[in-house]
Amino acid sequence: MHELLLQTFLNATYAASYIALVAVGLVLIFGVMGVINFAHGELYMLGAYGVVAVYVGAQQSFLLAVAVGLMFVGLVGLLMERALFRPLRDNPLSGLVASIGLLLILQALAAIFFGVRMEHIPPVTQEVLRFSDGVSLPLQRLFVIVAAIVLLTGLWMFLKRTRFGWALRASAEDREAAQLQGISVTRIAQLAMVIGAGLAGVAGALTAPLVRVYPYMGHSVIVTVFIVIIVGGVGSLEGAVIAAIAYAFVHTFVTTFFDGVVADIVGLLLMLMVLVVRPTGLFGARDRA
């Protein structure tokens, strides 16, 4: 029982890490742009396919593949801002539909170029840290955990210590007020899209050897992440991280002690309960949208 609890704790920590990466990116985009990026799961998918192309296809190192995933998806984010979200800035629902259109395009492209079947990604390392009998953490999972901590800390420092970060936070909290302060909304939007998309891409790239990589893999991630950012409070980066951890732990423990389907229901009900008690999420300062 003791080992089971410890192992489950490690499982949950890993889940919390990649969910937090994707969720923080989505919150950032929503906070600054005011648009729900439905294609966020597909950005995660693109990151994973970056690994397929660079690490599996071109036989380059995994680290390079992750870096390429980060930059390529960040660039896609920049393009999305220019081509979709900037022209539709005044109309969040149109932005939503545009991101749905993009989602369909990205899925179809992945299916056409890589096939509908799951991709095979050879393991980067098979090392496993064994703490005791029945408690172990594969190194690949540790990578994800460490990377999430490093990236999110880095982002936090950036937001707190730099002028750009200050402007970004200001825009995420109140767009009009930020504009009045002389912050260039376009620049900040570009920055938010690059960081948000890049985080999804890096999460996809890092977890690619651990999950099934196929064209429709974004779907299950986006559902989880929506739940997380709602519970955390839309627009709150800290809230997203805390909610990601809470959701991952609840879901993992319920899966282990009951089963996966019950865990899904519990996760959704928990979210509804949080919303009924606090209709703007745990950390959502006030009503926006």
Binding site: E3, L4, Q7, T8, N11, A12, Y14, A15, A108, A111, G115, V116, R117, M118, H120, P122, P123, Q126, V128, R130, D133, G134, S136, P138, R141, L210, V211, R212, Y214, Y216, M217, H219, S220, V221, V223, T252, F253, T255, T256, F257, D259, G260, V261, D264
Partner: protein, 434 residues
């Protein structure tokens, strides 16, 4: 406002008149019966399966296999009906795994394309096609025998007899490793996972293998399998059964089993791309992995009892054209076409009714894995599943090998009531479905 009501009045009267007119015309023009191919004309076969979306992996690779099949058959002169030869032409319709679209697709294939036979994946989409098939008398095949019911006499399950063949793997395992006595099982909670679960539970019970914990169900959208594996390993089983997990789940589950230090036996329905699982785990870990689908380059498939034509060449050609696509469905649809072609030539006609009669005459048929019986009265309420031997495949030194061909009807004769009991407990018998 008042004027508008007047509009409404004239509107509906006109509508009624024109409506009755349109109705009668369309009733007259709609031919209810499939057209027959004239001499020399190609015979059209419908392919009604998901080609896009999440379930596409169960349709698209099968269509690709059929295209190779048609090319090869047509190169040798096509199908000989009486004295005339006809080429085979496939007409595909993407049903997106939606019953409504499948219904539309079936209507289009039958009435507009004039197909003589429709191959489907079945499952969720079959109930939408069922009334169309019943009214038109169209011959339809499914890969999921759990679609069979006594109401539809023209639905056949001639290739896959999922999940009943899973008993052969368990039976072989119990004979070969009699000391393995405890098992755990996980299954995805869907139309494929549940009947398979009942089958494994019955097969384990028949061999005196004890289940250590309740079956662990997971949602098909699951991405992280670590918690599921942790849960399964917490009761130290001799055997882990992966049920009929899609290959997309078999891979991550095996990887987790390996990483969490499991060293016991693994039995599964499928292990598509097992060489990739070996790469993700180790040769030693996968040694002795039991499943049900042979590689088609396995020399054991050249056994004279096997009816699939040129399995080794087919496998090679398929992999050349569609690298990385091979899976069970790649050959299953094509093997159904072998059966159909033989029956059509025997009947001297492509007419669905005659082909079906020729197919089932004598109660036996040439299944891909050897001669088999049209079977299922007790189990599906109708003898429309082609059931005989099924291979037990084991990974040895990194390569899948057919270890035995085991008879499903023999097992059923001994343990049939167990299977029915477990199926009933999960609500999967034909009289419980729907």
């Amino acid at each position: 406002m008042k004027n508008l009501k007047n509009f409404g009045g004239s509107f509906s009267r006109r509508r009624l008149l024109a409506g009755a007119n349109a109705l009668s015309v369309s009733l007259l023009s709609s031919g209810l019966f499939p057209r027959l191919a004239r001499s020399g004309e190609p015979i059209k076969i419908g392919f009604l399966a998901p080609l896009t979306g999440e379930v596409a992996a169960w349709g698209k690779p099968g269509l690709d296999g059929c295209l190779i099949w048609a090319e090869w058959v047509n190169a040798l002169g096509g199908v000989k009906l009486g004295n005339e030869r006809h080429n085979i032409e496939f007409v595909a319709y993407d049903n997106e795994y939606d019953p409504g679209k499948a219904r539309t697709g079936a209507a289009k294939l039958i009435r507009e394309d004039g197909v003589q036979f429709i191959m489907m994946l079945g499952g969720d989409t079959w109930p939408g096609v069922q009334p169309v098939a019943e009214r038109s008398g169209m011959l339809v095949s499914t890969l999921l025998p759990s679609d069979l019911t006594p109401d539809t006499t023209t639905l056949i399950a001639p290739a896959e007899v999922h999940p009943i063949y899973n008993v052969t793997g368990v039976e072989w395992m119990a004979e070969t490793f009699p000391n393995l006595k405890s098992a755990v099982i996980c299954a995805q909670d869907d139309a494929l996972g549940l009947p398979s679960l009942a089958t494994y539970l019955a097969a384990f019970e028949a061999e005196g293998i004890e289940l250590q914990q309740d079956p662990l169900l997971f949602d098909p959208a699951t991405t992280d399998f670590a918690p599921i594996v942790t849960k399964m390993l917490s009761s130290n089983p001799d055997i882990v059964s992966l049920d009929t997990c899609y290959s997309d789940y078999v891979h991550p589950i095996c990887e987790q089993l390996f990483q969490q230090g499991y060293e016991g036996k693994v039995i599964s329905c499928t292990a598509d791309f097992y060489e990739q699982i070996i790469e993700k785990t180790s040769k030693e870990f996968m040694e002795g992995f039991i499943f049900q689908f042979p590689d088609f380059d396995d020399p054991a498939l050249n056994d004279p009892r096997v009816n699939f034509k040129d399995p080794n060449d087919f496998f090679r050609e398929y992999n050349r054209r569609y690298p990385g696509e091979w899976g069970a469905v790649s050959w299953e649809y094509a093997s159904i076409m072998d059966l159909w072609k033989e029956a059509a030539e025997k009947a001297g006609s492509a007419e669905p009714e005659k082909v079906l009669a020729a197919m089932k005459s004598g109660g036996k048929g040439a299944h891909a894995f050897g001669e088999a019986n049209w079977w299922g009265r007790e189990f599906f309420g109708i003898d429309n599943a082609l059931v005989g031997n099924w291979p037990v495949v084991v990974i040895e030194d990194g390569k899948a090998r057919v270890k035995a061909y085991k008879s499903i009807p023999d097992w059923y004769d001994r343990h049939g009531e167990l299977l029915i009991r477990h199926m009933e407990a999960l609500g999967q018998m034909y009289y419980q479905r729907g």
